[in-house]
Every structure is written in structure tokens, then in C-alpha cells.
């Protein structure tokens, strides 16, 4: 039995959990239907960029949903969680109405539960391993909804539990970037007694959580409350600080930093490089969403502007594409269209995001791929040529491959195009560290311990994976913290 499973068994054997398990029969639990997440109406929500679509479970809903959880002896759901939350324990705490303890359980391994409860793809992670799904072929326990409930309850209570930290060990470490991997790393290292500074190039902390995800999906205030907990734990934040420019790694070492975690993300937008893509009115989803999410460009009173279109096409089928197209709708687009080269089934976006987009009147032009853009005399895009596709044999991802249909080209009127076909790693850190090994695609190469070719430098998240989900990035941060701690303890013996 591993230490983790011994620990989980010990927790499960607590008297209160045993009593709770006996409170309801198995059938009584499994016969309960999965709860539905309440939402703002589509008509109302499309009027507001900052109105959250999912409104969160009521206490009553959360109690019923928590009672569905069987508190399994072998909690496979935890295997699906990159940060190893003790899922049954937090859910059972909800069931017995100990919401503060539920939140505390979440924060033992997750620095950002209110964020993860909103944006994690639980259907592909913890919920995909749930007993209900794997054994009963029923809808899994809504772990994500419950996570959000517990985290929000604590935030709304006004009393935030501040996790305990070990006495200071006199060592300083730094993170480069303040996205989910860095914050997760910082949360674990501060608990271990390190002095932790988070260096952020922008004026706001949060990385992709702030500039990438719209407030209708993740309100900034929710992120800020979780950041505040980290601050209260002692994590220092330096904004407008570009490591490699404002100060070099050597300078930071001279200031006493012994270890670095690079979580500088993938901030470099990718384009398709097709003809006409340089026309005015064609921009990356990074730029579009950053202008709106971080700079408030949706508000005309702010200095930062963003192009607004009547006929907006968003290229791509992922969550970023959904965020962009739904933002365009909220900014007044008459037609906001997803142009995606496969069918809806193959879209990488979360099913929930596609459903919300659909409800909000987003048009889906599936099995279509842009070939070329055209512009008016002023150089502003006014038309795009798309080629229709059909689905061929499955590729290595298991999804059917898009195959062009010759002669199927068609033109559609557009006045704004947002390209959401992925991002590339931020090149700044590799560029200023010649000894750092990077892949052909610019990602930092790390070993299983998240350690790079420079031993004091660890890395995780998008800068390592190219593109990761929030929770995978956070898992990287936790792994890196554990490994860096072991490394620094070893070399200092």
C-alpha cells in the first residue's frame, strides 16, 4: 500500500465518515439524479461581458449531490486529478454541512479551488474516473460543481482559511510568471517554509486566468480572493517585472534566489499563415481576449480599444475559440460564427462551453476551413474563402481527419476574424538562457521531476507542454515544488 493510499484509508476510516456512509443505503444514493448547474438566461447574459453564466449550486442542491458520492474504498476519482485532491473527503464534508472543512480539504493540495471548480475539464479528469460512470454507466458525481460550491461558500463567508506554513527555512525561490502552474508551485513552496517571490511581466497577477478566460466564465474577483490567500501565506508578488530583462537570472541569484520555477506560459499566438491573414481586422484570440479581459476594452471609457465587428468569424474549435466567439457576441456582433474544420463531435472545447455558445446564438460553420482572406480598399478584411471538408479516417487522436472537398470553396462576408488555432511557448526565457535545452517547438525540456537542463531551474505548464489545461499546469507546479524541495535539501546537505 502506498503512502497516499494509506493516508486516504486513514482519512476514510474516521468515525464521522463511517457514520455518514451508513446514513443512506447505496441504492438511495445511486438513484439520485445528477444535479444541473443553474445558469443565467442566454438573453440576459449576452448583454454582459462580466456576468457569470453558471450561477453555482444552492446549498440544497450541493447537499443532495454530495450525498450521491459513495465514498468509495478505492477512490478512482483522485487518480484523475492532477493535483490529487482528496475528493471523497471534501464531498463528504459538504454532505455533513462542514463547508469550511470542505474548502480546507481542497486547499490542502489545490491553491485555486474556486478557479478549478469553474474551468477544469472535470469530465475528462476526476469525473471520468467516477464509480458512477465506470461501473454503473450513470452520470458521474458533479465533482467540479461541488468544488466550486465549497470554494465559493468559503469566499462568501468572508472568513478565508489560510493554510499553515512550515517555519521559514531561510531559502529564497522565485517563479517566472504568475499563471496556474506558478501559483500552484508558490502555494506548495511557501507551505514548505521557503520565501517565495512571483515575478510577473504584466501589471496583473494571474496569467492566463486573467488575460485568457473571460469573466463570464471566471470572474476576476474569484481569482483575486485566491491570490489574496497566497499573499496572506507570505507569497510576494512583483508585477511589471520581466525576468531576463528587468533583471537577469544571475542578478536574481546574486539576490539570494536558489531555485527558479519557470511557468511563463504560451503567450505567442499561432496563425495559419494563409493569404490575406495580415489584413486589418484579423487578430489572434490572445490579443482579442487580452484586450477585453485584462484591459477592459469592452468598456468604451477605457483607453484600450478592441475592434468590434458585425460579422465575426472565429477560427478554431477549442475553449479559446468559444471564449472569443461568445465575447464577440457580447460586444455586439450580429453574426458570431465558429469556423471549424471538423464536426462538432471532434471539437476540443468542453461540451458545456459549446452548449452555452449554442444557447447564446453562436453559429457553427463546421467542416469548413479558411483558405484566404480578402480586404476592402482600406485594407480591412471583408470576406473569407473557406473550403468545405468531409471526415476521413481517424487520426492518432482518435478523431476523424478533415479532408478537403475539392471545388467546394465558398466566400462569406466578415468584418472581424479571430484566429484561435493555438499558441506557442513564450520564447523570452529560453532566449536568455543559452544552456537551457528546448525542444524544436520552443518548449523547455524537463525530466520527470520537472527539472530542466539547468539544475536550479524547474518548469511546468504551457512552457513545457506547449499547451496545457489549468489543472495540468497546476499539477506541474506541485510536482516541481516537491522536486525542487528535494533537490535544494540534497545540495545543501
Amino acid at each position: 500500500m502506498t503512502i497516499q493510499s494509506e493516508y486516504l484509508k486513514e482519512r476514510r476510516d474516521q468515525e464521522w465518515r463511517a457514520e455518514l456512509r451508513n446514513k443512506l443505503k447505496g441504492k438511495e444514493r445511486t438513484n439520485l439524479p445528477r444535479v444541473h448547474m443553474p445558469e443565467e438566461s442566454p438573453e440576459e447574459r449576452v448583454k454582459h461581458q462580466n456576468l457569470e453564466v453558471n450561477t453555482g449550486l444552492s446549498k440544497e442542491q450541493a447537499l443532495v449531490e454530495a450525498s450521491r458520492c459513495m465514498d468509495c474504498a478505492n477512490p478512482t476519482c483522485i487518480e484523475g486529478c492532477p493535483v490529487q485532491i482528496n475528493i471523497p473527503e471534501f464531498i463528504k464534508n459538504i454532505e455533513r454541512e462542514e463547508f469550511a472543512l470542505a474548502a480546507k480539504t481542497l486547499k490542502q493540495t489545490n491553491a485555486l479551488p474556486a478557479v478549478c471548480g469553474r474551468v477544469c475539464p472535470q469530465e475528462k479528469q476526476c469525473e471520468s474516473k467516477c464509480f458512477y460512470l465506470t461501473k454503473l454507466k450513470k452520470e458521474p458525481v458533479a465533482i467540479g460543481y461541488l468544488e466550486r460550491f465549497a470554494a465559493d461558500w468559503e469566499q462568501n463567508s468572508g472568513i478565508m482559511d489560510i493554510p499553515e506554513c512550515a517555519p521559514k527555512n531561510g531559502k529564497k525561490v522565485a517563479t517566472v510568471g504568475s499563471g496556474p502552474s506558478s501559483l500552484s508551485f508558490a502555494g506548495d513552496m511557501i507551505k514548505l517554509g521557503y520565501e517565495v517571490t512571483v515575478f510577473e511581466a504584466l501589471h496583473e497577477i494571474g496569467g492566463v486566468l486573467k488575460y485568457g478566460i473571460p469573466e463570464f466564465r471566471l470572474p476576476n474577483k474569484k481569482v483575486d480572493i485566491e491570490l489574496d490567500v497566497l499573499k496572506k501565506m507570505g507569497v510576494k508578488f512583483e508585477t511589471n517585472f520581466i525576468v531576463g530583462r528587468t533583471a537577469s537570472f544571475d542578478q536574481l541569484k546574486e539576490e539570494g534566489y536558489e531555485g527558479f520555477f519557470v511557468g511563463s506560459g504560451a503567450g505567442l499566438p499561432r496563425f495559419m499563415n494563409i493569404p490575406g491573414e495580415n489584413n486589418n481586422g484579423i487578430l489572434s484570440s490572445n490579443e482579442y481576449l487580452t484586450r477585453v479581459n485584462l484591459m477592459g476594452a469592452n468598456n468604451d471609457k477605457n483607453d484600450t480599444l478592441v475592434l468590434k465587428g458585425k460579422n465575426v468569424a472565429v477560427i478554431g474549435g477549442g475553449n479559446t475559440a468559444m471564449d472569443s466567439v461568445r465575447t464577440a457576441k457580447r460586444l455586439g456582433a450580429e453574426r458570431a460564427i465558429i469556423v471549424y474544420r471538423r464536426s462538432r463531435v471532434e471539437m476540443p472545447a468542453r461540451v458545456e462551453e459549446v452548449k452555452h455558445a449554442d444557447e447564446e446564438g453562436i453559429e457553427f460553420m463546421n467542416l469548413a476551413n479558411p483558405l484566404e482572406y480578402f480586404a476592402d480598399e482600406a485594407g480591412r478584411v471583408n470576406k473569407m474563402r473557406v473550403q468545405m471538408m468531409e471526415l476521413g479516417e481517424p487520426d492518432s487522436s482518435g478523431r476523424r481527419r478533415p479532408v478537403p472537398i475539392e471545388g467546394s470553396e465558398t466566400d462569406i462576408d466578415v468584418d472581424l476574424v479571430i484566429v484561435a488555432v493555438g499558441v506557442s511557448p513564450n520564447p523570452l526565457i529560453p532566449a536568455c538562457l543559452p544552456d537551457l535545452t528546448v525542444s524544436r517547438w520552443g518548449t523547455i525540456e524537463v525530466n520527470d521531476n520537472m527539472q530542466s537542463s539547468i539544475p536550479v531551474l524547474f518548469a511546468g505548464g504551457d512552457i513545457v507542454r506547449g499547451g496545457a489545461t489549468v489543472i495540468l499546469a497546476m499539477g506541474d507546479g506541485r510536482n516541481a515544488a516537491k522536486s525542487m524541495h528535494e533537490y535544494l535539501m540534497t545540495i545543501n546537505k
Partner: protein, 333 residues
């Protein structure tokens, strides 16, 4: 010394020896060596759409296990495509900025019409002097008629020509039931040159292990005969330049092919077998032979043995061995 300049790919070339599309020319230094040895032009290694797709597949396999994030990989084929184009760009710019004076011809092999155009435009932007279409449909599809295949060829070629501002030529396969007519009709498009013939990857059988294996990769010296026949037949009857490819292993073969009507010859296997000096051997050999035979320029030589220039042109179209075999039989009796 004889003047070796010729014209192919819509370009003036310093010699009729063209380096065919292969890994031989994948660096600035290798291209410098080829140019110094007298090559007239270099066809860069083909951009294969299929290769890009295979690489995309392998990236998905490699990365998706660690990522569980298809969003990142969904359009990764464009990343690979653009990386290929970037490498082409770096190579072409490297050659030009190193002052190496040799035309660089980009070669592309795609399956979908849109990608032919995408790469044609991108490689032109990268600075290629001309394009060579490595266009071939293996006629193994039971549902695809000859007319459909012809149609695909002409539609693709016309699309690329329409999208390109640099000269476009094609390296053709011999597998057409109406080859002469096909070559003639292709020459009537805006193609500036046709190279006969493309040599393909073939499979063989390993009888011990009972498995398919790659057949010999490099050409054999006698393989030039097919190109010789068809260039001889078509020379003087087409509206664009012809070049010969496959089986050029010595300067004599190069001369024969030019006499049949080729404006230039493409070589690859000979260089793999004999090294980069082989290019010089060919160039010097051709020049020496021309000097010895009082031929001052390549255009004088081109087509001097085609159907119009030779005593017994009917030989080009003779395909049966009747008399030849008769004599062979006597010898064995």
C-alpha cells in the same frame, strides 16, 4: 571550350546538369559544393504533404498522452507546415546571402488542391526561383477513372500556375495510357518545363522473411532508356522545354539524353554513388565531348537525335524484340 549554358525551369542555367530533388541539397554548404562543381540548378528536397501529415500524427501520439489537451494539437499540422516553410526560407536565404549563384527550385508533393497552392505561394515567398511539381497519382484506385486522374492533374497544375509568379514545371510519371498526348497537352498549359520521368519508391519482397521491403533506392545506369525514348519521341512536338531524369550515371548518358531533346538532365543517384565530384565529371565530360565534336553550344545539341534529327526515327517507337530475340536464340543454340 563549349558553351554549356542552357534553358530549363524558365531560367537560364550555367550547365545542363541539374541536381534532382533529394537530401543532397539540404544545407548551404552542400549547395555551395554542388554549385562549385558546375551544377546548373538545384531542385530542393520536396515538401511532402504526406510527410507533414505523418509528422502531425506522430506529434499527436507523442504529445497527447502528456497533455490531454487536444486544443493545443488541433491545428498543429499548420505549425509543422509553417516550420517546413521556415526551413526552406532559411536555406534559400542562406544560399542567397552566401553569394552562391545558382537557381534554387522548390519541389512540392501534395494530395489536396488547397495545399498545392499553399506551398506554391509560400515557397515563392521564401525566394525560390522556380517550382517543380512532384505530382503523381498511383492509379491503384478502382473507383477513379483515367479521365478523373487527368482532370486532377490539369486542375492542380492550373491552380498552382494561377497562384504563382515564378515559373512552374512538372516532373512527370510514365504511367499514362496516352502518355504522348498527356505530355503534349501539359506542354500547352503555362508549364515552362516537363521532366521525364519521376523515379518512384518501389517495394520488393524479402523471400526469407516473407515481408515487403523497400526496393533498391538508387537508379541503375540502364534506367535512362525509358526517358531517352520518350524525350526522343516528344522533342520538337511540345511547347515547353523537356528535361531528362533517372539513370544518368555518366556524361555519355547525359549527352544522349540531350541529343534526344532534353534541355538538361537531372542527377541524384550518381552523386550518392560517386560523391559531389561526380557533378564536375559530368560537366567536364560533356564539355570535352562537345569540343571534340565541334559543337559550340548546348542548344546545337538539343534534339539533334530526336525523331526529326536522326536517320531512323522509327526506332523510337519499336517495342517488340522479334529480330533481336531471333539472333539471341541462335547464339544459345
Amino acid at each position: 571550350m563549349a558553351n554549356l549554358t542552357t534553358h530549363f525551369f524558365g531560367l537560364d542555367l550555367k550547365s545542363p546538369v541539374i541536381i534532382g530533388s533529394a537530401g543532397l541539397s539540404n544545407s548551404v554548404e552542400k549547395i555551395r559544393l554542388l554549385a562549385e562543381n558546375g551544377a546548373g540548378a538545384v531542385v530542393l528536397k520536396s515538401v511532402f504533404e504526406e510527410e507533414i501529415y505523418n509528422e502531425y500524427q506522430s506529434e499527436i501520439e507523442k504529445q497527447s498522452v502528456a497533455h490531454h489537451n487536444l486544443e493545443h494539437l488541433d491545428y498543429f499540422d499548420y505549425e509543422i507546415k509553417n516550420d517546413r516553410v521556415k526551413k526552406y526560407l532559411e536555406l534559400i536565404q542562406g544560399v542567397k546571402s552566401a553569394g552562391i549563384d545558382i537557381p534554387l527550385v522548390a519541389s512540392i508533393n501534395c494530395t489536396s488542391g488547397s495545399d498545392w497552392v499553399f506551398f506554391a505561394k509560400k515557397l515563392e515567398e521564401a525566394g525560390a526561383d522556380a517550382l517543380e511539381l512532384n505530382l503523381f497519382v498511383l492509379p491503384s484506385d478502382f473507383d477513379r477513372s483515367a479521365d478523373q486522374i487527368h482532370d486532377y492533374y490539369f486542375k492542380t497544375i492550373n491552380k498552382v500556375i494561377e497562384a504563382s509568379n515564378i515559373p512552374v514545371s512538372i516532373k512527370l510519371s510514365p504511367y499514362f495510357s496516352d502518355l504522348a498526348r498527356m505530355i503534349k497537352e501539359l506542354s500547352e498549359t503555362k508549364l515552362v518545363g516537363i521532366t521525364l520521368f519521376n523515379r518512384f519508391y518501389n517495394v520488393d519482397i524479402d523471400i526469407d522473411n516473407k515481408e515487403l521491403v523497400p526496393a533498391k533506392i538508387l537508379s541503375h545506369p540502364f534506367e535512362y532508356l525509358q526517358s531517352l525514348r520518350w524525350i526522343g519521341i516528344m522533342s520538337g512536338r511540345v511547347k515547353c522545354d523537356l528535361a531528362a531524369s533517372t539513370g544518368v550515371h555518366d556524361y555519355e548518358t547525359a549527352i544522349k539524353l540531350i541529343m534526344a531533346g532534353a534541355s538538361a538532365v537531372q542527377v541524384v543517384s550518381g552523386i550518392y554513388k560517386h560523391g559531389y565530384d561526380f557533378v564536375k565529371e559530368l560537366v567536364v565530360g560533356i564539355a570535352k565531348w562537345m569540343d571534340e565534336n565541334n559543337i559550340e553550344s548546348i542548344p546545337q545539341l538539343i534534339g539533334s537525335a530526336n525523331t526529326e534529327g536522326i536517320k531512323n526515327p522509327e526506332m523510337y517507337e519499336r517495342v517488340q524484340f522479334m529480330k533481336y530475340f531471333g539472333e539471341f536464340d541462335k547464339a544459345i543454340d
